[in-house]
Symmetry: D2
Subunit: 321 residues, 4 copies
């Protein structure tokens, strides 16, 4: 059994981790830390866990655990690591952006198993990728791996509301968001940095622009990215390239029909779909932003780090509707 | 032309008033007061008015207007009236709960035209009814008017998110509310007071319970109330009673088929529908909470107060979908 | 291992069964029968199963299985049993209404484990309850079991769209249903029959009306029933009664805070909540209509029939959002 | 007064026309033709019109009208014109695709007032533009008019469900569409033809690709198009170009903040917004697909054809929420 602790247990990604981990056959949850809710049952905050667990938010005790998941939010992991003395052999999976850049000073490995599975298996510290980044990278990496990227890449990706976290704001207000969509951070989204790093890891000389327009969607979970670029392969060649690239990766499927977001909601899967139009190859990529885009991927990384089958505990019932 | 001012111009009900009044043929908007947004174009806040108006949030100047709409929020009108010296002949329509009780000390008339049209026509001060109250009273008043209420009344009513105002909270958060419903304030909702007063105005000896369960719906606009009580009339008699009661009221229709909420969204209408099952008469009542339940009714009251056709400026295109 | 077959594999309840059974540790799916889709991969129809299974829709072969689930739709099971000769020892769980009445001529047991667990454990043929019926009965049965029902029961229940099946109709059209609610079959819904039978099984002399208003909600999954009736217990006594009644039942929890539908979506759970107002006891009951209201309960019944823990394979990750 | 008739009165675009025309001060609706619903009140079909009109679906009588709107659906107008002998001076506005190509054999003028207002004013027959086409063309035409298009254009546009009409299908089913998005007809959508023709009318030598990815959105009304292309103007120059191009057009506004779809829902407006990133100019364009994308634009065309102010009858209350 892997003994795990969760830091920052009251937020969305921690809740999603708990929904997975309480059923994971190889995991024991030793503590769920929360400053704001210490002493309360976790089912008071993550109400859908009522009846599933009697866990209480508690203080962290690093002597009890093999691994901690840090769910404190972007910018807070650095401070956490400075302020806390952690056991040397304690493994860490951080869900924030803080240590995603390759040249980080703590030796964190970028935790996209479909890119870095070998390094992850040997790593002690994992920086879990961003949700948009996961969805988009999975759609592009096979091209980069065979150095097929030549021209600019065009990406439009629409995300569910949970991607923005649980803080209530003007744009998370139901009255605004219901039946509504809007663009934000066009061409400047912070995930462009990690997407670019991952592409360059595989095709270092690629230097064209990645044009990325993120959209706020009026649904709770999921991301659909639509990607296209010029490509001199036929559709069949491209499909074969993608099939080969993902042949050893359990969570990525190539679909023969156009996917929709709900096809992957409440699963750790990524579904890809390809079309060729003239000289453009279009790739559609869909994931659940809280699973393959966050907590599901964190568990997948844990599985890889501890030598388990990467699917362990991740055979999740899809929502379907 | 009626010169009007709006106090508290940045909230939901004020926005809705503006959407109506800028097209009202007999109204000139003299000022839209907002403490928080003074000096800004109103289209910066009510963004759907871009291109329709160049109005700027400004200070109130009561010498310019015949009528003010007070949209400051519940509990704030009393303070406003204490702190401001208003011209004697200035008419007021208040959208808060503050002066809805009959025995209020300022002479406000409860502004449900289908109950009090004659008094409203002579009034200077109107307390605009609550949204749930409007929907439910319109479903019950014909029975009370002919003293047909005998036993308890059972009401379940589901409301759109705009009924809770624009303040972002846990239960207005899209991630929570999307695809979700929940009960709140069962048997204790504050609108029960005005509903009871209106019933007793017509059938003073009625003393049975009104069991009211309010539900938060996952839509933006609209209320559907389902009401039933024992009744010794046939369905035909009941329909005739309702038809007669509303024969002089432009905004209430009796439907022969089951209504849905969207049938009235973006209109000032109330659609009623009746069924008889055993000794129970069931009435379904649907309105748009921001229109017949708030700002549309406020304009209807203004029309009645100033001797206009009550429909003036309220020939609104329904949303349909 | 239990070898199971599914009859009518292309519909909603069959899809939901498959989403559960492919991960159930004690089940082998021997065939998934579909007349309309024979020969196709089931992931072509239930697209969210892409990557999870390579099963193909096939003909039924009753010699391969211990149990069949019949998902053909209401009214079709009778015909199916007449037209097919089944092995004597083949167990059946039927998800239609056909054999829910107690006095059915084939010996089907009404499969609500919280009412009939002992009989289910010995049964060969189970009639799986209706979705509304499950939700409402779980809210009322503890009162009936202690003969506390005295007066009429008032029920309003709102259901997700999947309750109406996959046939595209006017009222399943997104343009109509989105942001909309409407009543249907008020006081006459077909589930009243089984609700009444279950209550009478526990409190045979109860003879008051059950007033039931069903509502079409604008969400995909879930039912929320709001129930009240006169009751001479205190709130504490009522809570204790409910806690005791469900103490041996894994899927029902009594909540201390108002539940919402999403709290149980994608789980087999039922969450109950009680309030007392004057002499009225109000019970809120929420379930996922496709799980505790259909396919999840079918699996729970299978577990009970085969002597497994009733939770086996039903430790499902909630959707949360 | 303009006497108008509607052909094909039971569909979405006809319903939307009726919602506008019954309040239009210069219009008398002489007949609303429907083969399927002849003899029924139109409020039986377009239920939100209950209480607003007593019109009955009837046979067409062309001697009564100055203008007909043809709302029969794509491909049916050609057959209609062959099978019916119409008075010579009868004006026609056709909402189908049939006569949108410039070189049509009946002299239909493409009815985008912001492109062809002078020709429309003199025309007898108008082909009303497509919804996507209207939204996208309004975002691009100022560039084409000053011959600023140089490189490929990249367009992603998401549409509400009403764009697909009222026929119930798999992808219009609420259970599928709710909380879901999906791409369709990428790079091949039929509106590309009219978009290209309109661009070439203004910048005839432009010959680069227009890459267009349409997306089915999970909302009822509205289209948001995100468009970008290389452009050597500064943002300020581009804004000025757009302001100038639309200075005489009442329904198009240039916004200083990022627009969302609901900003224009239930109006005939188009809101545009510009950003510059490197050498890319991004334009966001939002309209209501049933209004500026269909029936609202048809009324605008009627106004122009009959010498009225183009805004007459189109001062519509926005939905806001």
């Amino acid at each position: 059994m892997i003994n795990v602790g969760i830091i920052g247990g009251a937020g969305y990604t921690a809740g999603e981790l708990l929904r997975i981990l309480i059923w994971h056959p190889e995991v024991k949850i030793a503590f769920v830390q929360s400053t704001s809710h210490a002493g309360q049952p976790i089912a008071n905050v993550h109400k859908d866990l009522l009846g599933d667990t009697d866990l209480i938010f508690a203080k962290a005790d690093y002597t009890l655990v093999d691994l901690i998941f840090i769910c404190s939010g972007h910018g807070k992991t650095k401070a956490f690591l400075e302020q806390n003395e952690l056991p040397e052999n304690l493994k860490i999976i951080d869900l924030s952006t803080d240590y995603r850049p390759k040249n980080n000073d703590k030796g964190f490995i970028y935790g996209l198993p479909e890119l870095n599975k070998v390094s992850i298996a040997k790593a002690d510290k994992i920086a879990n990728p961003g949700c948009f980044a996961s969805c988009i990278e999975l759609g592009i990496l096979p091209l980069a791996a065979s150095e097929k990227l030549q021209e600019e890449i065009h990406v439009n990706a629409i995300t569910g509301s949970t991607g923005a976290g649980q803080n209530p704001t003007t744009t998370s207000h139901f009255s605004w968001k219901n039946n509504n969509v809007a663009v934000y951070k066009a061409f400047t989204h912070q995930h462009l940095a990690e997407i670019t790093e991952s592409i360059l890891q595989l095709q270092p000389e690629y230097e064209k622009a990645i044009n990325f327009i993120p959209v706020r969607g009026n649904f709770s979970r999921g991301i659909m990215a639509t990607i296209y670029t010029e490509c001199n392969m036929t559709l069949e060649e491209a499909k074969e390239l993608y099939q080969n690239y993902y042949s050893e990766h359990s969570f990525v499927s190539i679909s023969d029909s156009i996917p929709d977001v709900k096809q992957v909601v409440n699963t750790n899967k990524c579904v890809l779909y390809l079309e060729k139009h003239g000289n453009k190859l279009m790739i559609i990529s869909v994931i659940d932003n809280l699973l393959k885009g966050a907590s599901g991927q964190a568990v997948q990384n844990m599985n890889v780090m501890f030598g388990l089958n990467e699917k362990e505990g991740l055979g999740l019932k899809p929502i379907g509707f």
